[in-house]
């Protein structure tokens, strides 16, 4: 079997059937209340067709493509929505253990993970990059998060290259897209024009190759491969935003920049940016008890560095001011993450820009600091 195949749009159902036959639970984009979200797929017809997204700072709208344009048949012509695969690999709320009082003390019952083997259909290149970043956090350091590692190892990834950029995308400047280089079992590129609609399929792993044995396909021609390449290049050229290449150094050398107070005037400290971020990994742990004190349980749930509780130590929170919290988040994401994990924590997906209710733009904040870091030196105060 060659490395690049071609399947028809009808064969997407065959792909889903093959995944289900192999014991996977397919999850992918679905339309829910005006947005693309990731949910269980039972048939290829569940995939939204003919939808285009419009994204900007604090703004997201889906619209139906013009019925007379080829876009009306498109299946992956929107960029990422509010959710990411993080919700499946690192669930927003998890039970860690339960305990029951006994005559002599407590009996602990560890939670068993009953999550299925997921097949992620439609993971974009920036999302593969996010999974690699979270792999470093959760399973490549000295302490392995067993649940994450198990869910990750079981998952099958069908990536989709981007052939249209979203309004807040900047993956090209982060080196994470719009083409997926690795980190997938299969990778689709949607070929869409007036008289042809099909998908290129790149094989990324042995299990990807085995799966394609079950799906009707043919070898892709060099012309088809070239069409796919051009469509991805178009997406790269559409991106209106870019992250300054030396963001890490800019932030590291400007802890007292006046821009922090300016962004704090606009920042709601609501935590949306951290929760939609596909790499933010912070969690809080809560213990609960039954009324009679006989049973106890420990849960873990997503947390955010924008809450006061997050930095609470004896005497109160360390980062009381919003300026300090915003600075902490963006500096960790783009600068100190390198020292901690060897990569940037940002993939250029643009979610923090779109889903910030007031549209604060991570690229604009870095650029603003860069533009003024030497022009306005700080006084002695």
């Amino acid at each position: 079997m060659p490395d690049t195949l071609l399947i028809s749009t009808e064969a997407l159902q065959g792909l889903l059937d093959a995944l289900i036959a192999k014991g996977y639970q397919p999850v992918g984009p679905r339309l829910e209340r005006g947005a693309i979200v990731y949910e269980t797929l039972s048939a290829a017809s569940d995939l939204p067709r003919g939808y285009l997204d419009e994204q900007g700072g604090g703004h997201y709208r889906l619209s139906k493509a013009d019925p007379s344009s080829p876009e009306t048949a498109g299946i992956f012509r929107y960029a990422v929505g509010p959710q990411s695969w993080k919700g499946f690999l690192f669930p927003s709320r998890q039970s860690l253990w339960r305990a029951r009082r006994t005559e002599t003390g407590f009996a602990f019952e560890p939670e068993t993970d009953d999550a299925p083997a997921y097949a992620f259909l439609g993971a974009r290149p920036c999302e593969l990059a996010a999974m690699r970043i979270q792999d470093r956090v959760f399973q490549e350091g000295p302490y392995v998060d067993r649940g994450y590692a198990e869910r990750r190892a079981r998952a099958f990834v069908v990536a989709v290259n981007c052939t249209r950029a979203g309004g807040t995308c900047f993956c090209a400047s982060m080196g994470t897209g719009p083409r997926a280089e690795d980190g997938f079992d299969l990778c689709l590129t949607e070929l869409l024009d007036a008289d042809d609609h099909a998908f290129l399929v790149e094989i990324g792993s042995a299990s990807g190759r085995a799966l394609m044995e079950l799906v009707r396909h043919r070898t892709a021609t060099p012309e088809e491969i070239e069409r796919g390449r051009r469509a991805i290049t178009d997406a790269a050229e559409q991106m209106g935003r870019r992250m300054p290449p030396d963001a890490a150094a800019i932030l590291a050398s400007n802890p007292e920049h006046p821009r922090w107070d300016q962004v704090a005037q606009r920042c709601l400290s609501c935590a949306n940016c951290t929760l939609v971020c596909p790499t933010c990994f912070c969690s809080r742990v809560e213990d609960t008890t039954s009324l009679d004190g006989v049973e106890a349980a420990r849960h873990r749930q997503w947390d955010s560095c924008f809450t006061l509780d997050f930095s609470y130590i004896h005497g109160g929170p360390v980062r009381r001011e919003t300026a300090a919290r915003y600075r902490h988040w963006i500096t960790h994401k783009l600068s100190t993450w390198h020292a901690q994990f060897g990569t940037s924590g940002c993939t250029g997906c643009g979610r923090c820009i779109t889903w910030c209710p007031v549209g604060i733009d991570i690229t604009e904040e870095v650029a603003a600091i860069q533009a003024t870091e030497r022009a306005e030196p700080l006084g002695d105060e």
Binding site: S92, Q265, L268, D287, P357, G359
Partner: protein
């Protein structure tokens, strides 16, 4: 040796009773509550009264009359742990709208016989009158949060009642943001979590029933709501709902006079 069950009292001040009903609405857990505590004073559930002092007092309602201002001090004196429940007890409630106008004008406008009315000029939270050990927000309160506060209190631990924004609750449960995806007005970013993101799951913006979040930047949100099409008056009314007297919302509404 059987240890004595803690005595629980439930007190009502100026309120609609909805929050104490949340205790009765704990249907599945009600027997467990009755096992864990002695329900000593709870007129909505039983006419039987056991004299104080009480280990835990749940206080619903705001202070709007001279008699209430006096009675809350007696409740405090008889209570080891005093927990206020609901928007009225924690902020003054919807009735705190009266704080915005001269009392006499309101009384004359509303009552046929104003001379029968003996009311304070303001509706205020319990905390303005006596020491409070814990405040549980909401209009009405969330029964799971009430159970958590009772369970934590009985087991000597800190309750898991978050003070972060409603947005976190929406994101944890996968609710798509109605402000970003539909342009709807929403107080979620400045409102404390706890209701179970009821309104956003019904395609409506948050009304701020749980009061201001720990660090509410109402100015930034107001600027955004104006950009989405709200005028000064609508914005003012938006902050003047069930928790209008909470300082952050009161100040926000005053800037849109």
């Amino acid at each position: 040796m059987a240890s004595r069950r803690p005595k629980l009292a439930v007190w009502k001040f100026s309120s609609c009773d909805g929050c104490q009903l949340s205790l009765l609405a704990c249907e599945d857990e009600l027997l467990a509550i009755a096992d864990a505590v002695e329900i000593a004073y709870f007129l909505e559930a039983s006419r039987a009264e056991v004299a104080g002092p009480y280990d835990i007092s749940l206080v619903e309602g705001s202070i709007t009359t001279p008699q209430e201002a006096e009675r809350i001090r007696r409740v405090r004196a008889q209570s080891r742990m005093l927990i206020t429940i609901g928007a009225c007890a924690t902020t003054g409630g919807i009735q705190a709208l009266k704080n915005l106008r001269p009392l006499d004008d309101l009384v004359r406008a509303v009552y046929a016989h104003p001379e029968y009315i003996d009311s304070l000029a303001t509706s205020t939270p319990v905390l303005d009158h006596v020491r409070v050990d814990f405040e549980l927000h909401g209009c009405p309160i969330n029964k799971y949060q009430l159970l958590e506060v009772l369970s934590a209190t009985l087991n000597g631990r800190r309750p898991n009642v978050p003070t972060y924004s409603q947005c976190i609750e929406c994101k944890l449960s996968g609710t798509v943001c109605v402000m970003v995806s539909q342009g709807k007005a929403c107080l979620g970013p400045v409102t404390q979590a706890g209701c179970g993101n009821l309104c956003p799951t019904c395609d409506r913006g948050c009304f701020g029933c749980f009061g201001p979040v720990e660090t509410a930047n109402t100015q930034a949100l107001s600027a955004r709501l104006k950009a989405l099409g709200m005028d000064q008056r609508e914005l003012q009314h938006y902050y003047r709902l069930f928790t209008n007297n909470a300082p952050a919302f009161r100040e926000a509404s005053e800037t849109h006079d």
